[in-house]
Structures are given as C-alpha cells and as structure tokens.
Amino acid sequence: MIVEIGHFALVLALVAACVQGSVPLVGAQRNRADWMAIGTPSALLQFIFLAVSFACLTYAYVVSDFSVVNVMANSHSQKPLLYKVTGVWGNHEGSMLLWVLILALFGALVALFGGNLPAGLKARVISVQGWIGIAFLAFTLFTSNPFERIFPPPLDGNDLNPLLQDPGLAFHPPMLYVGYVGFSMAFSFAVAALIEGRIDAAWARWVRPWTLVAWVFLTGGIALGSWWAYYELGWGGWWFWDPVENVSFMPWLLGTALLHSAIVVEKREALKIWTVLLAILTFSLSLLGTFIVRSGLLTSVHAFATDPERGVFILIILLITIGGSLALFAIRAPQMRSGGIFAPISREGGLVLNNLLLATATATVFLGTLYPLFVEALDGSRLTVGPPFFDATFVPIMLPLIAACAVGPLLAWKRADLAGALGRLKFAAGAGILVLLATLMFADDGPWLAIPAMGLAAWLFVGAASEWAERVKLFRAPFAETRRRAAHLPRSAYGMTIAHMGLAIVMAGIIGASAWKQEEILVMQNGESIVFAGYDVTFLEMRRIQGPNYVAERASIRVEQDGEQIAVLTPEKRFYPVQGMPTTEAAIHTTWLSDIYIALGDEGETNAGEAGWVVRLYYEPLVPWLWVGSLVMMIGGVVSLSDRRLRVGAPQPKPAKAPSGQAVPAE
C-alpha cells in the first residue's frame, strides 16, 4: 500500500509540474497577477508530493519489501540500516527520484524565499524549473520507475554492490546532485531573463547565491567521490581522468567561471550576454553528465550496468533543453544592452581572463572526454584518451590561471595599475620563491614542473592572504583600526580570500600527490620486514574476521620510523557472499603531511617460491591537503553565501554613492 502511495505521489508531482510549467508563464506573458501567483503553491506541491514519494521508497528499503523490483535488486535483509537507507539512491531508479526531489526542492525554495523578486521574473523562473521537472519526472516514471512490483516476491534481495556500502559514497551522490541540479537555478534565471529580455544588477545578485550553493555542493561532491576512490578502490589514486569524473568536473569548471562573471554583471553591468550563455552551458554540462553516466555511452571504470534506451530518452531531453535555450539565446541576446566599459587591465579584465581560461580548460576536458565518441561515430575505431592528454592540456591552462588568481583581486574596477598590484604582492612573490627553493632542495626526483608549481601554490596562498591584509591595513595602521576594518569587510570578501587559499592548498596537494608518490608491490610473509620510503614496515600476522554481511582476511602491518612505532595498519580483503564479490579495504595512516597507504592483494609467491601475501605500499605526500583544501574552498563558499547583500538579495536602488568598502554594516 505504502509503495502505491509513493507511486501515486510521483504521478501527482508530474501533474503539479505541468501546472507549474505552464500557468505562471502564461500569466507572466499576459501580465495577470492571479495566474502568476499559481507558481508558488504548485512548486510547493510538487516538492511535497516528491518528498512523500521519496519517503515511501525509503520505507520500502528500510522494511526490506522485496516485492518491489528496485528494493529486491539493490538491497538485502542482512544489510546494515545505514546502507539500507543510502541504498535508495545507490541505484539508477532511486537516484533519479533523488534528482527530481532536489530539483523540486530548489523550485520550492524560490517559491518560498523569492518574495522580493519581481513578480514576472519569479513566475518565469518557477515555470522554467517546472519544465525541467516535467522532463525528468516523465523520464523517471516511464523509463525508470522505482515503484515497480515483482510477483512472486523473492525471499531475499540481491544486495547493494559492496563497493557502495561505504559512508563516503553514501553521501557522494546527494551532494553531487545538489550541485548538478543547483545549476538548474542559474539556468532558469537565464532563460527567464531571456524571455523577459532584461538583465540587470539585481538579476545577477539573485543568480549568484544559487550558483554559489550549487558550487559548494558540487565541490564537496567531487571531493567526496575522489576521497572514496582513494581509500576504497585500493589503487592509491584519487583522480583518474575517467569520463564519469570528467563529466562532474566540467560543470564545476564552468560553474566557477559563472560565479566570477556574475560578479561583473552585478557590480558593473558588463558581460551580461556572456554570463547568460555561461549559465545555460553550465547546466547543459550537468545534464550531459547525467546523460553520460546514465547511458553507459562511455567506457568507464565507474560505469555500472546501464541501459541504452534510457540514454535515448535523456538525449532527447538534452537536445531540447540545450537546443531550445541556445536558440532563445540567439534570438534575444542581440537585444541586450551591455553596460559599463573597462580597460583591459582592471578587475573586470582579470575576471574576463579567469572566464576565458576556465572556459578553455573546460573545452579541453570536453574534447578529451568525448573524442572517443566522435571517432567511433566517424570511422568505427575504438580508442581511449588517457590521463597524459589531460596532464598535457589542462595543467598548462590552469597554471596561468593560478598565477593570475593572486593578482586579480588587487586590481581596481574599471582601470587598474598592474605594477602597483604586483608591488603589493612582494610577500607572495617572496613566499613563492622560498617554497620553490625549498622544494628544489628536498625533492630529488619527480617532474621539474612540480617545483615551480609548488612555488606558484605558495604565491597564490600568500597572495590571497595579502589582499586581505591590504584591505584591513594589517601592521600598517594601529591594531584597533585593523580590527575595525576587518569587522567591516563584507563576508563575500572573506569568502573569496578563503576560497582562493583553499584552491592553493588543493593545488599543493595535487602537485605533491602526482609528483612524489612512491609505490611498491611485493609479496610479504609473516614476520617479514622491509624499508619503504624511510619507514620500517613489518608484516605481523593475517587473521580471518567476520563482518555483518561479509567475511574478511585482515593483515596487521606495523609501521615504524627510527625504531618508534607509528601505527599498526590493518588492510582487509573482504568477500561479500550475497553478491559473490571481493573488495579491498585499504588501511591509511595520515600525518596530515602525507599518507602511508597499504592495500592487500591476493595470496602470492615470493621470488624464492614461498607462500605469502601480495602487499601494495604507497607513500602519498600531501594527499590529505586535497581534502583539507576542498573543505576550505567549501567554507569560503559558505562564508560568501552568508553575506548580507546576498541574503537580502533585493534589488534595492543603489544608495547614493556610499563608499563600497563600508556600505555594509557589521551585523
């Protein structure tokens, strides 16, 4: 019965979405307030129906109702409760339900908190959200219905893929989806603005917080996915330039560009057309990501069994959405008036450079990811584009971006003094050179590019900090003055500083992990000791243990440095009998400066022919900084989001030329 309620609620949500997609839009076009007012209740209703539907599916999972095909195929009565719940979105059908639920949530949030939006814009935005809802609800209902029944119900289910039974992956899809779907808000605002034919600073002020929310979650989702791949797959790697990773990374890159270009629209009313285009493209890339993951079009280590027919459905949605919005863009964009003018060397100029580099980087990732498809369509030969391609194209584009990222915030709007800005970065330059020299001393091998790149990361970190120091007159004014300035600095300024510093930390992590990683694979016997990366590693023993729904071989491996025990690591090799599938549980000891990473392989033979266990040892320098840096970037986003200007969001008429640094009261 509960399952039928869930199914019915899903159908009702589609009906609500149809109302939401049509009535408010017609009302806005005919300027009828009563029709426009339908938008709010219909968006709320759609969300409530979907929440009910999702709750029903979750209930079916929790009580292990194996008469539901979806539960039968992805759950098992012995599974821990946490993974029964997260199993709801650990499969195609359930994850689509989560997708539309998040979409409806964003629609409902605009309906609830969009009170200070102009009525016409609000109605149009809600309608565009409604269209996306219709498309994906229809997709879920007609091709991937999670509420389908099976008769007779089997005694037990097939269980969830053991690799997914992990806390890191449990929360990776929801975060990623909030990011993906969050960009639908920027898209809806862009399309609504195109229909309306008007874009102003208030529009940008409205788009920015939504983009920021999506960006924060997408950052978290990507980092969490990378973290999961790092500790769960047992390969010691955290990024593989795999198609499925790339399709989540592309909206992130373009979304980052959108965040920056929206600032220019808000402050200077320039780059309007470009910003609208970016908003459309960013969401298009999110849809493309959904399409590629769901269709199994590209071979990927991440691809689970997929269904090509679903791919065709999403492809149609993709073509209508992208084609339609770009056509609208082509018709309406020439009518938009562009605003303020600026010199090439200016804050605007810096942000344009940021956008160009990010867009170019996105284009190269796009090309590398989809090139195999183009080639196969053209002449039928099959190929893959490997990580060397991305290393050779993406990295050279990002390095100037990082270099410029420290300078940009110091440039003034309209016309700036580059020499002056560089002069204020002398500490950053000093730190960069210092780190470069230190790296040169300590790193005796690895690619040469890593050495200047480390210097660049330090340049960005100190550069971001000195921009803040500059604004609060640190050490150049009395302390009270500095404190007053620090308190009056808008939160968005803090957000930027923190996010840029986070980027520098991530960058250092990327360089360290890819340049100075050490790896050793060998067969070890009980009691055997080896020296690895300056540590004494001893294989103590092997034991068989019983988990809740698996059995495991667990090794105890002691790691010592200078005769002192650092850790006893216990990597496991698990076997899940229900799915008949083995997994590797790596053991990691982190010092926050580096990781020691040990994974267990099969039984093997030493060179002398004696039995032992295959052990993989990795020394992963700076890898923890990846996760710390991503977290710092997210914090930067959240701090910026808490800025009063964005919370109020109202298109207030500009106060008569208040000095911009002090326009925002402290509290």
């Binding site: 344009v352 190269t364 584009v385 599938m581 083995p582 002398a608």
Partner: protein
Amino acid sequence: MSGIASRKKRRLYIVCLGLLCLGVATSLVLTAFEDSIVFFYSPTDIAEKGLEADRYVRIGGLVEEGSVERHPGNRIEFVVTDFSNRIPVTYSGILPDLFREGQGVVAEGKLDGDQIFVAQEILAKHDENYMPKEVAEALQKSGQWKPESGEAPPR
C-alpha cells in the same frame, strides 16, 4: 561617441585574448593527442590486421578458462580470448579484485617480439556483472556473445 569606440576596443581585446586562448589550447590538444590516445583491439583485430610490436594499445576479451598461471615474484600469465582468436598476456603486479577466469578483462600494454602481450595495467571493474563496452562489442562481432558471461541476467 567615445563610449562606443572604447566598447568596441574592449570587445576587440577580449576577442583577441579569446583567440589566443583558443590557439594555445588547440596546439596543446594536438600535441597531446599524438601520444596519449590508446587504441583498442580485440584478439581478432590483431589476428586479422596485425599490430606492430612496441605500440601501446588496449586489448580486451575474456580471460580464457584454465589459462591463468601464477609465477613467483608476482608475475602472472593468462590468455585473452574472444573465442575466435587468442592472445597470451604476461603481467607483473597486483590484479584487480574482479579478475577471474571466464570474466571480461581489459589490458593495456605492448606486444613484444614473440607476439606475447606485455601488460602494464589490467583495468579493474566495479561490478562483476559489468562487461567493458569494448569487450562486449568485440565478442558480439566475433559471434561469441554469451550474455551469461557478461551483463547481468535480465531480471
């Protein structure tokens, strides 16, 4: 008047910078493509068209039943087959969890002088039911598609 002129000038700057980015990106892409594209071959492709030694490629098929031999020092030999043709493979290193006889496999490496494929990497799969797309196609082409050895049985 001057507003329009400088707006055009600004646009010119942006367009120039954009073209510069595009040019640099294109040259980067073209040079990178030369040595980072890896072609995929099935055993039948290699038997029919041949493959010069020392070219880095991917091969894929099923691990032939009974062909896996483990040697001391972590070296392993096995045969990749698509039931029409077969290629012996040798590999030193850790095998992915889901490497099994009769299952799909993708190996990256080079053919040596004796027509033995020296793998540098054996690709792991997340899911035992998952068959690499290339392998499925290669098997279909050779007319040896056996769903039970590949995709999950229809439920």
